[in-house]
């Protein structure tokens, strides 16, 4: 059986877990077994609808205290549940919480693990999974040598598949270990799309010359419904908040569309965004290295190009 861990926040299942369910279901199909999901805590989502993503059952440990994430407690419960349910493969989203617990679960189950996976397993020669390495600059095919396997799938690398299934819900009863982490405050930036969950991202660099010029970028993001990001020099100069910094030492993202405005495209920046499906580069310097990594490029002054692009987007949305 393939067991998929469902991550959630503020009573809502994360988008990355939807993808993990479809990924797990595809592995189950390869192995000829069932794909079932595991939820620790409570959510407002309709759990039977997870069948549409590929889960035939949802095992739920229905206890509100688990809505506070505690890596030690969560990893221990997942490992125990996986053992009881006799799971062969345990799938996580390679997101913030997945990174904290998947390796611990692997240790507890004596399972080999591949994190940052970006392909279905290749079963021709055992069990090999491809992952991104060198910050997205290369791939490695990793063979898992143990009977049990743990895989954490990169966000936005597999997609969502549709199944004609309704999931059944089964209560799990396990003793809950004492909490090791006390959550004392949660500070969510309201009204913004979290960068790591965003499909569309508009990002600015030093070419915008100063924080006072960010209006054109914000307008474009608003017209698209995109999240905003920036390059390292911009966050280092405090033009934009640190949580917007994408790149090797900032956040690594893989949206469907990344629009880079006034970013030259240093290798460290590319390492954070090169898994984006489509890259648009707007830069007045035709020699900017970013053009080599781009799908579409506009050589021109951002202060003219960006408002024109925003207008074109708005017009397209208006006509829809």
């Amino acid at each position: 059986m393939v067991l998929i861990y469902i991550d959630h926040s503020e009573k809502e299942i994360k988008k990355s877990s939807h993808e993990a369910i479809s990924y797990g279901a595809a592995i189950a199909k390869q192995l000829g077994c069932s794909s079932e999901a595991l939820l620790l805590g409570t959510v407002n989502d309709d759990l039977t609808a997870l069948g549409k993503l590929g889960a035939s059952k949802v095992h739920q440990l229905n206890n509100e205290t688990l809505n506070n994430f505690d890596a030690k407690v969560h990893a221990s419960l997942i490992a125990t549940a996986a053992t009881h349910l006799n799971a062969e493969v345990i799938v996580f989203a390679h997101n913030i919480n997945g990174k904290a617990i998947a390796p611990a679960v692997a240790v507890k189950l004596d399972a080999g693990i591949v994190t940052g996976a970006c392909s279905l397993p290749n079963l021709q020669n055992g069990f090999e999974v491809t992952k991104t390495v060198f910050s997205g600059k290369a791939f490695a095919s990793i063979k898992i040598e143990t009977p049990k396997k743990v895989i954490a799938i990169n966000q936005n690398s597999f997609g969502i598949e549709n199944y004609e299934l309704g999931a059944t819900i089964e209560e799990v009863n396990l003793p809950i270990p004492t909490a090791s982490v006390k959550v004392t405050n949660v500070n969510k930036i309201i009204g913004e799309i979290p960068l790591t969950e965003a499909n569309l991202v508009v990002s600015g660099g030093r070419g915008l010359k100063g924080p006072e010029n960010w209006g054109i970028l914000l307008n474009l993001a608003k017209a698209l419904g995109a999240a905003t990001a920036c390059s390292r020099p911009v966050s280092d100069s405090d033009w934009r908040p640190h949580h917007e910094h994408v790149g090797q030492t900032g956040i690594q993202i893989a949206p469907n569309l990344y629009i880079a405005i006034g970013i030259s495209g240093a290798i460290q920046h590319l390492a954070g965004v090169n898994r984006s499906k489509t890259i648009v580069v707007i830069n007045k310097d035709p020699e900017a290295p970013f053009f080599k990594a781009a799908d579409y490029g506009v050589v021109g002054d951002a202060f003219e190009v960006v408002p024109a692009l925003t207008a074109a987007i708005s017009k397209m949305k208006h006509n829809e």
């Binding site: 913004e192 799908d295 579409y296 002054d301």
Partner: protein, 247 residues
């Protein structure tokens, strides 16, 4: 307080990524090695700041790797660790590495074990989480702020679209990222002192690897950028909608 800082050697961020031996090995030819930036800039520097506030703090550094890892561990000592341990084994399997660190940690009593959020070469982000399972300790990942108050750590960690504040009673494991501290450059006094700081070399404990790397590959080269003139923004929108199908 006793802190163990995990240090990994990685290629420089601008290193050319190429492979040899039938794409089974990373090509180390001409590669400059550095301390993994997350280990150095965030985790080690924060440990040093804690020691500056409380000089009774001991900072031990640990790296798992062959003798070629010694220059980077000397650099880490120059920044400010008290002593270093190198476990003499090269492995690409996170579990093997975590077992080496855990074995050392079990023989001492560390209040805090610090790692970077991931290494910039294999990007596995496994060691902290694995250590928490092997040592049965609390773990907070992707931390960008850490304050000590007696035996309680107050930590801010990244969550999707925000931050969360956690309180944890030591001992614990923490993985660090941007925001935790600022990069430092070792000064001459540090570099001189590092030469005589103890660097212990330990034999590895036998551990079976759970995984092995079979092949590396490079992403397909982009087919070339399609240039659109600044007065053709409606055309660009059309391409994004109909050709790329991303909006």
């Amino acid at each position: 307080m006793n802190i163990l800082v995990c240090i990994s050697k990685t290629p420089d961020t601008t290193a050319k990524i190429a492979f040899t031996e039938g794409n089974t090995k990373f090509d180390e030819n001409g590669v400059q090695w550095i301390i993994n930036p997350y280990d150095e800039w965030y985790s080690l520097v924060r440990a040093i700041e804690i020691k500056e506030k409380d000089p009774t703090t001991n900072i031990h550094l640990i790296t798992v790797g062959g003798p070629e890892a010694e220059p980077i561990i000397r650099k880490a000592l120059a920044l400010g660790g008290d002593e270093a341990i190198r476990v003499n084994i090269n492995s690409n399997d996170s579990y093997v590495i975590a077992q080496q660190i855990a074995t050392v940690a079990k023989q001492a009593s560390y209040d805090l074990i610090m790692t970077g959020k991931e290494t910039i070469d294999y990007n596995s982000a496994c060691i902290g989480s694995m250590l928490s399972a092997i040592l049965d300790l609390p773990f907070v990942s992707l931390a960008n702020h850490l304050e000590m108050n007696g035996n309680t750590a107050t930590i801010q960690r990244e969550i999707e679209g925000g931050e969360e504040t956690n309180e944890v009673i030591l001992p614990m494991i923490i993985s660090c990222q941007k925001g935790m501290a600022e990069q430092r450059i070792p000064n001459m006094r540090g570099i001189m002192a590092a030469r005589t700081k103890p660097l212990k070399v330990l034999d590895p404990v036998a551990t079976n690897a759970h995984t092995s790397i079979k092949e590396f590959s490079l992403p397909p080269a982009k087919t070339g950028v399609k240039l659109i003139t600044p007065d053709q923004m409606e055309e660009l929108v059309k391409l994004l909608k109909e050709e790329a199908k991303v909006i």
